[in-house]
Symmetry: C2
Subunit: 128 residues, 2 copies
Amino acid sequence: MASLGELERAVMDLLWAGHEAATANTLRDRLATTTEAKGDAAGHEGKELAVTTVLTVLSRLEKKGLVERERGMRPHRYQAVSSREDHTAELMHEVLGSAPDREAVLARFIGSVTDSEAETLRKLLGHI
Amino acid sequence: MASLGELERAVMDLLWAGHEAATANTLRDRLATTTEAKGDAAGHEGKELAVTTVLTVLSRLEKKGLVERERGMRPHRYQAVSSREDHTAELMHEVLGSAPDREAVLARFIGSVTDSEAETLRKLLGHI
DNA sequence: TCAAAGTTCTACGTCACGTAGAAAAATTGC
DNA sequence: GCAATTTTTCTACGTGACGTAGAACTTTGA
């Protein structure tokens, strides 16, 4: 119960990037700019979504527990509940837990980790 | 592009469990038995699905690259392409790769790993 | 009090997935 | 060799998630 759609993901990325709370309007604008880069080479002007679209997505993300909003201020402010790193790490644990033999999975996992990542892991495991 | 539905997951679990190739019929039977346990306390007799249902799911899993079938034999034999551990580890890598700062994610990840898992990791990463 | 800005409700199209019948193809038992 | 049976493929429908947004309701600012 944690998979995100394309737009939901894009919104989370924005919230995670500049991690202060943002309004739906701000997000809508940033989405247009962000999408711009992804569009086909030629200046395919990032299309602005309707604010309601962004609001719907934010509501769904809130329901999923990924986003929380301050209802005090009038243009509600939205922000990610946890950092991208925390969320991603949590996801990794979920995946890991989906297999009976966790240690066997870890073995395979380590097998295909980059050198620098292995180094990072060694350090982290050192002082625990 | 790797999330599984409930039934798809159940089928993969069976293929991963007894990891010889199996026919759609065999799988349908095992699904009934397996489901039995999950049903409400009272002997809620695992309901047998139509074989076509199982076949459809197997086709979809094949298309997703998780299952392969031997078309030689007539009742086709199906088997998982990779072990559950390999598949799970691969998923973990996918998740890890979905964040820009992989090392930061690893830090959080390690932070909430069990002791025995940490031990396993140390061994796998070699001394030091 | 009104217009403007913001929020909630409702809704539609699409796609994945559970589910399976109908039709086509292959096997098997006589 | 042919009918009965098994297996596979095609087609399809219901449901729920997600992208998308208009309509309607609420709050704010002048």
